[in-house]
């Protein structure tokens, strides 16, 4: 029984560390975890859920703004949504998404259509990848708790 929990905890620890090492998450995610307590045990999951909803909405906006069939592209409109996404991703520690937004913003300012379209595709893939990774991480947490264990605090160096 205990060996099972220990193994899950180790899996969780390794998985979490890998997410930081691979650049999916940065220290702002760590800050987010500090805000979770017994009073709000699902805080991180709730905020990330809001973030992913935001991704869907904003990427939809960007796609519509980049749609040439409706007329000329309004890069400032694209840029406004990119700015929002950059802010959100920065706030939750979604490092790769944020990095893409920085590049995307530059393409908007340069009014580079192809660059924007590329970034749009990449940011779409990136948020979905992060979502899957985090779901796996949250599932590990759930398994630990259900097995009667405590989710370990993972220190990232």
């Amino acid at each position: 029984m205990n060996a099972g929990i220990a193994q899950l905890q180790m899996q969780f620890r390794d998985y979490t560390i890998s997410l930081y090492q691979q650049g999916f998450l940065d220290d702002q995610f760590t800050e987010l975890k500090k805000l979770q307590d017994d009073g709000s045990p699902d805080f991180v999951a709730e905020v990330l859920s809001l973030f992913f909803e935001d991704c869907v909405k904003l990427i939809g906006n960007m796609a519509r703004a980049l749609d040439k069939s409706t007329g000329t592209v309004d890069f400032s409109q694209v840029g406004a949504s990119v700015h929002q996404l950059k802010g959100s991703s920065s706030s939750v520690g979604a490092k790769r998404v944020k990095g893409l937004c920085v590049t995307f913003k530059e393409y908007c300012e340069a009014q580079n259509y192809e660059g924007c379209v590329r970034c749009l595709q990449q940011v779409d893939i990136e948020y979905k990848t992060l979502k899957t990774k985090l779901q796996d991480m949250f599932n590990l947490e759930k398994q630990i708790v259900q097995a009667g264990g405590v989710v370990p605090q993972v220190d990232i160096d």
Binding site: E46, V47, S91
Partner: protein, 164 residues
């Protein structure tokens, strides 16, 4: 006004009175947090609550001004009758559509009732001209987004020291 020493009353002119206490402890800061981004609002609210502050959030400058009783002449009176708790601190994002945080800062500082309320501007971009402009217009502090727990602790200490 409140009876106990120092704390809230010194920051505000006589716009609100004892009837509007509603469980607001004298030693608790009541913060008005303004940000157009939902996630950032949720985060700053949690940061402040964990740091033992009472929090009210607003999604833009106009709503913030309405809450503060600066929306228009009539709303000032409404604020009194709507039992709005005194605000001890305003934290506002700089980049907001419509009214920017900077414009909100100026409106607050122009108000005889509210000019003593400290206003902190937060921004993801630490541009020197932006920082200087805000500080020159009376901002208490300019802080970088995203805010961390340590930032809020630092801010609280700074404010508490200023009050005593």
């Amino acid at each position: 006004m409140n009876g106990s020493g120092g704390s809230c009353s010194s920051l505000m002119e006589v716009a609100y009175d004892d009837d509007h206490h509603h469980g607001h402890h004298d030693d608790e800061l009541h913060v008005l947090a303004v940000d157009d981004n939902l996630i950032d609002r949720k985060l700053v609210e949690k940061l402040l609550k964990i740091s033992s502050c009472k929090v009210t959030t607003a999604e833009n400058g106009i709503r913030a001004l309405e809450y503060l009783g600066l929306g228009d002449q009539n709303q000032h009176i409404d604020a009194l009758t709507n039992n709005v708790m005194k605000v001890n601190l305003i934290i506002t994002d700089y980049c907001m559509p419509g009214m920017t945080g900077f414009e909100l800062l100026k409106k607050v500082k122009e108000s005889s009732n509210l000019k003593e309320v400290p206003v902190v501007i937060v921004s993801s971009e630490n541009i020197p001209t932006r920082v200087n402009k805000c500080l020159a217009s009376g901002a208490q502090m300019f802080m970088q987004k995203p805010l961390k727990l340590a930032d809020v602790e630092k801010l609280k200490c700074h404010l508490m020291n200023c009050r005593s």
